[in-house]
Amino acid sequence: MVDDVFTPGIKAGRLEEGAYAAQFSDLHPPLDHHEALVAADRCYFCHDAPCITACPTDIDIPLFIRQIATGTPDAAAKTILGQNIMGGMCARVCPTEQLCEQSCVREVAEGKPVLIGQLQRYATDHLQQQGIHPFTRADATGKTVAVVGAGPAGLSCAHRLAMLGHDVVVYDARPKAGGLNEFGIAAYKTPNGFAQDEVDWLLKIGGICIETGKALGEGLTLDALKAKFDAVFLAIGLGGVNALGAQGEDKDGVTDAVDFIAELRQSSDLTALPIGRDVVVIGGGMTAIDAAVQAKLLGALNVTLVYRRGRDRMNASPFEQDLAASKGVRIVTHAVPVAVHGNGAVREIEFEYVDGAMKGTGEMLRLPADQVFKAIGQTLQGDGLPDLEGRKIAVTGAGRTSVKGVWAGGDCASGGDDLTVTAVAEGRDAAMDIHAALTA
């Protein structure tokens, strides 16, 4: 018998073979030329525009939209990429409804913002698809910088440093560069290998050497890097995952959502990727939503996302929550996991409802589950790092750590809000600060 959505257990190929491509196609299909002009026409070219302030990388949005409107999308792309070298990825993954588009005057006035993210994609795609890299390197400074972590923060920092004439080596523990762009972001936000294409495009600046399979802590030490390079930028993201603290957590079928997503992103054949019939995701952030939605898209029959607080407290934006709901994900709130049941492998998971103060109510909920994804937060991993603030590397100013000559940015550093675009901004700003320090 061929497996379908009703087959119990964790099975691959639940859908018709041809269905996967459509399931995982672009969440927002690119604007065509006409649509881009119509969308661009709506921008008022506001003075001291609030959308610019709302963009963590301060892209000059009215200028780039006017450049699209006047038929020069490549000039628009340069305006974007000059501020945000990953403007292509950000156009796809930024929660624009909470950033630039939220403060667009037309959102405030009419509830219909200018489509800034999609216009940004239109422009950056236009340039990048021609293979044009519009930046060049300044004269060599003779200085070298080590960047640890080839995610958005590390790559953004490396690119800016290379542009300023420094030579950069980027170390990453994984076999591929890109960080969560490559291993984390939902597949339908960045289909068709865009993450790697963007990395390849970014590296065209020259002067950046990527060393994959090299982890800080395993062979590489901060002291050795400090000795060898003129400066070090740490951008290692959050490699660890928080534990549930529920009984039976170690049963088969209970895994980390980030690992599931990474596996999905790296899979070359989604029909071969197994998924449960009854999937439960625990958590309330972007990772939880992405895991739930992608489980559903892979053909899971029932997907339930369970979060311990109310929907208003979820880190995932209302847009993301609605997206999940539209795909058929059920969202349960105010419930904490207490026990995972099953004989070796998970069969059911039991929750207790809690009140607003997170106190148990005694009301229980048992959900059938053959697969459980944990998505209750990622944590910083590693020893011998600079001083921490809370659970992240403490930074002041543009990413300065407690150790002289060592900067940090992106998810691993304090402040920021765990978004691709903030990681890019922090990488860029740290590069400027490193440059100032190295050329002082």
């Binding site: 030329h33 026409d41 009215p62 450049q67 006047t70 038929g71 020069t72 000039a75 305006t79």
Partner: protein, 434 residues
């Protein structure tokens, strides 16, 4: 990136984008901010003679025409020349020029049509370090009643006379700003040239009433129940300005007279069009009054990207590029035949092309029961009306017919040879084709 530096009648500026004489250039505060934003030059708001300055109405001073989404398409104003004392303007001009030596600073001047008046003001202007002067013969309101501005601009002899005085009393290049409120722009342009002008700039604003208040029965802008005609400018006037620029550029008597193109320049493309039709640089007013000084960044990036795409390395290579292709109607090729083609994939079946063609043109578009719109080649004269009314860009195109094929409308074989009206048998004064 293409080199945008510009030299206009010997005046250098980092780009060919100047601000026209108007409120944006009325004072030091504005001009400094304009230069900081990237403008290549400014023509200072028109100076009047010494003594008490003119007095503006309090306002409203502007009327407007809007397109969809309230996009400003045309602006009308009843402002006068500067209403600030001459000494103040001169002092500020000097300070600005000192701090921005690489930018062009031109003084616009309008004083009475008397030799003494011009002779008196020119040394003061020269003393500021200004790079040139622009004679305002174009202001259509307020000043004309006093025998200045467009009153002078409408009399070629006066233009010639005043230009000659200026050439006599200053070493600065003299640019004569022309009013469009005349029958034929060549007369004032030729007069300026005879007077020795180094260049002309055009257009100034067009006499206009933008709208009428239908409750109070007065033209807008209405001041205490009354209104007056104003000067029209902005995107709506660009076609008029382009034509006037082209006429001067291709007229043998004025072809070598440098032109500063003005009128509706809003984007890099508008600017490029003026340059191609013969302008050596452009001046902008309404666009900055609508969007602020920052738009020059788009003009700079757009023009340089365009020039790169055409392998042009300097602005001069674009200037006059289209002039040889501006011709008279009677020189157009009557043997050129094209037909409209509707791209069925792009068509959204709105039927606008049908309404336009069926009701007002050649009944050359067919509409089927299921709202498919197709061109009837037997009727289509390729007038282009459908292209212009179609809401979808590039949906309808004009496809030239190959020579040797038969035009189903006329039944005639398309002739590869060029033939125009001057030789056409229907033309009573036709000369036989050679």
């Amino acid at each position: 990136m293409a080199d945008l530096t510009s030299e206009f009648v010997g005046i250098k500026s980092p780009n060919p984008f100047w601000l026209a004489s108007a409120p944006p250039t009325d004072k030091e505060y504005n001009v400094r901010r304009a230069f900081d934003a990237g403008w290549g030059g400014v023509v200072w708001k028109t100076l009047g003679m010494e003594g008490p300055p003119v007095v503006n109405v309090n306002g409203p001073r502007y009327g407007a025409i809007w397109g969809a989404d309230r996009r400003l398409l045309g602006l009308n104003n009843i402002e006068l020349i500067t209403d600030r004392p001459l000494e103040v303007n001169l002092r500020e001009m000097k300070a600005v020029k000192r701090d921005y030596p690489d930018r062009a600073l031109i003084a616009s001047i309008m004083v009475p049509c008397e030799e003494e008046a011009w002779k008196a003001i020119l040394p003061h202007v020269e003393e500021t370090g200004a790079d040139g002067i622009e004679l305002n013969f174009g202001c259509p309101h307020g000043m004309a009643e006093r025998g200045m501005g467009s009153a002078v601009g409408q009399v070629p002899e006066y233009i010639e006379m005043v230009t000659r005085w200026c050439k006599m009393y200053t070493r600065m290049p003299v640019i004569v700003k022309l009013t469009p409120n005349i029958t034929n722009v060549l007369y004032p342009a030729e007069a300026a040239k005879r007077g020795g002008a180094d260049a002309v700039s055009l257009i100034n604003t067009i006499n206009s009433i933008t709208s009428v208040d239908l409750d109070n029965f007065a033209p807008e802008p209405m001041i205490d129940g009354k209104g007056t005609h104003g000067g029209y400018c902005g995107p709506a006037v660009k076609p008029i300005a382009l034509n006037m620029v082209a006429e001067i550029a291709r007229n043998p008597a004025t072809a070598d007279l440098p032109i500063s193109g003005i009128g509706g320049v809003t984007t890099w493309r508008d600017a490029a069009e003026f340059l191609a039709l013969g302008a050596g640089n452009v001046q902008v007013c309404t666009a900055v009054m609508t969007y602020g000084f920052k738009i020059v960044q788009e003009m700079i990036s757009g023009l340089s990207e365009y020039m790169d795409s055409k392998d042009m390395t300097s602005v001069d290579q674009l200037v006059r590029k289209a002039v040889p292709n501006v011709t008279d109607w009677n020189q157009l090729n009557l043997n050129y035949v094209a037909k409209a083609r509707i791209d069925q994939d792009a068509c959204i079946s709105c039927g606008r092309c049908f309404a336009a063609c069926e009701d007002t043109s050649h009944q050359a578009i067919a509409m089927s029961e299921d709202r498919t719109f197709t061109v009837i080649d037997e009727e289509c004269v390729a007038c282009n009306l459908c292209v212009n009314v179609c809401p979808v860009e590039d949906c309808i195109s004009m496809v030239p017919m190959e020579a040797g094929t038969t035009d189903p409308r006329t039944g005639k074989v398309v002739d590869p040879a060029y033939a125009n009206w001057t030789t056409h048998p229907n033309n009573p004064s036709a000369t036989a084709a050679e």
